[in-house]
Symmetry: C2
């Protein structure tokens, strides 16, 4: 069987089945980051994520600086999703020997600028030649106290479902920049903003730490695989169901404009958009105001978009007319869905 | 300028020049691993290294299990080179969608078998598709006490130079398996042993920890870039020179057999062989017996192969007839030297 026939998540499950552990592994494979017990109150968080030319980025769309930014941003987002503080990064670079050095200068400039913003030190890495595409594989280490760490497990029926920021811009830019009819339908300013969301996503590190500090958040992850897919991951791990109120989704203005032009439903684009780096989290009912205020206090925004239910009811969306429909939890599969973002 | 014109080490220097740090970074870019201060007596060690099909391994030579073994082994070797205890690994997998799942089953089986041997837990990772070759990029975390950590700096003139194990088998196997005249000149048993050294290198983790515990070792690194090249790195970082006694090199029997058949000098093959994972270290003159015994006590072997000198004298080899010749410190350059090992 080929990898693309099996798919990303079944492959991970297969490769990591019955994995040996150690007593100091607080959280192994299966969340946004691993959590390792240092025996000192803090847990060490560790995550890695690769960006491959032609899969995760296109040099025709993103500048070297933007490619470097995003390679670190996707990892910062994973640490943010645990409520953690990012600290140290290792950069593994796989580059074709004929690549221009100036391209890498730009990639590192973009990466270093973002690292500075979050006080992250680049402490190591590796350079290797490859006959394949330029690939940046970053491992990011961070820390969080055991009491504050937020995982995908922990949501309960009745908890409210919230998301940071606005949804849909990344896939809007992808559609607009790779399909001419879509492109011509977007105002230049909306396109530029959506493009920014796609190539320089802003990891919600401050929001994640602020939410972890409230004590009212029960589960959290980032929605790099899209809202529907990652909500599915959260529900599976927490053993709950969910209802998403379609009318409440904070859909980006660019997505609304594109949806109008294409005659599509903006909320549905936002629901399944991959490659976004907002935080999706659940809050106990009496803590919603506190959670929203905590995100606002660090300059972000958070919106209530639904509610967790008993597991037997699965994932559903409530249409604006009140109808409840099943939600396909299938998110982005990096082995089967090949489009760059 | 293209990467291959600049070369691996100048590229790393260029990309990491003036890198921002943090107060808790005890050791950043430039050694076998980064060392991060957890504020608890222990330092966290972090290293990453990638194995790329066609560059670091050939499926025609190595089985999937052997490929998985080596991908972890090269990282274990880096933690060993700091005198550290390996703990946790993250595996980033870049795989073509058409790859057979059974290949990855084998790769993970090899990796997990080696992880078990050293009590290392695989705690996370990432799977991504790539239009390029199969690539395994592993980040390994470990720990060491600050007093015991061994770096490339710290060697003094007069210190003795030692190396673990035997040298030359990896390059011997590479020559024998890729060049027919060489292949036919090696007895089958010698070839099988050399092949084993190339595809399943044994990281010297126990030796590294035992050496760190003695307190008599002044500097250490692993010789993944070859003895000559890595000795150059150690001398540069410690600001010393070195004399290698050619007659004392513990050259592998397979290398001697190959050298005889090809009419070449076995010691010179061993000196420049890349892709070996022995430890090269310096010991103060009164500590040699203790260091050798420490390695022997954990089942290994260590050999005195030279002495450190004042820096002005550079790197030299003493021929069996007593003549002192300059030693080219150029080691393996992963951007310029493309052969797999």
């Amino acid at each position: 069987m080929r990898l693309e026939d099996l798919g990303e998540f079944p492959l991970i499950a297969r490769l990591t089945a019955g994995l040996e552990s150690r007593a100091d592994v607080a959280l192994g494979v299966g969340d946004d980051a691993a959590a390792l017990d240092l025996g000192v109150g803090h847990l060490l968080l560790a995550t890695c994520d690769a960006q491959v030319e032609g899969i995760h980025f296109l040099p025709s769309i993103a500048t070297p600086e933007e490619i470097g930014h995003k390679a670190l941003a996707v990892n910062l987002s994973d640490i943010a999703a645990m409520g953690g503080e990012p600290l140290w990064a290792l950069v593994s670079l796989l580059a074709p020997p004929a690549l221009d050095v100036a391209t890498l200068d730009g990639v590192y400039a973009g990466m270093r600028a973002l690292a500075r913003r979050f006080n992250v030190a680049l402490v190591g890495g590796n350079v290797s030649s490859t006959p394949g595409p330029l690939t940046l594989d970053i491992t990011l280490l961070g820390r969080v106290t055991r009491e504050r760490m937020l995982t995908r497990a922990g949501a309960h029926p009745g908890d409210r479902l919230l998301v940071t920021g606005r949804l849909g811009a990344a896939v809007t830019a992808l559609l607009a920049l790779t399909a001419t009819p879509a492109q011509t339908s977007l105002p230049a300013e909306a396109l530029a903003e959506a493009r920014g969301a796609m190539v320089t996503p802003q990891p919600r590190v401050r929001e994640g730490m602020a939410l972890a500090a409230t004590g009212v958040v029960s589960a959290m992850l980032d929605i790099s695989d899209g809202l529907a897919g990652d909500l599915g991951h959260l529900c599976e791990r927490s053993n709950v169901g969910a209802i998403v109120e379609l009318a409440t989704l904070p859909v980006d203005a660019s997505t609304r404009a594109l949806a109008r032009a294409l005659g599509r439903d903006a909320s549905r684009i936002a629901l399944t958009s991959g490659d976004e780096y907002e935080l999706l989290f659940t809050v106990r009912p009496d803590g919603v105001a506190e959670a929203v205020e905590a995100v606002r206090a660090v300059g972000g925004m958070a919106t209530v978009i639904g509610e967790m239910t008993e597991p037997g009811q699965g994932l559903r969306v409530r249409e604006p007319d009140g109808a409840l429909l099943p939600l396909d939890p299938r998110g982005w599969d990096h082995l089967r869905d090949g489009s760059p973002g």
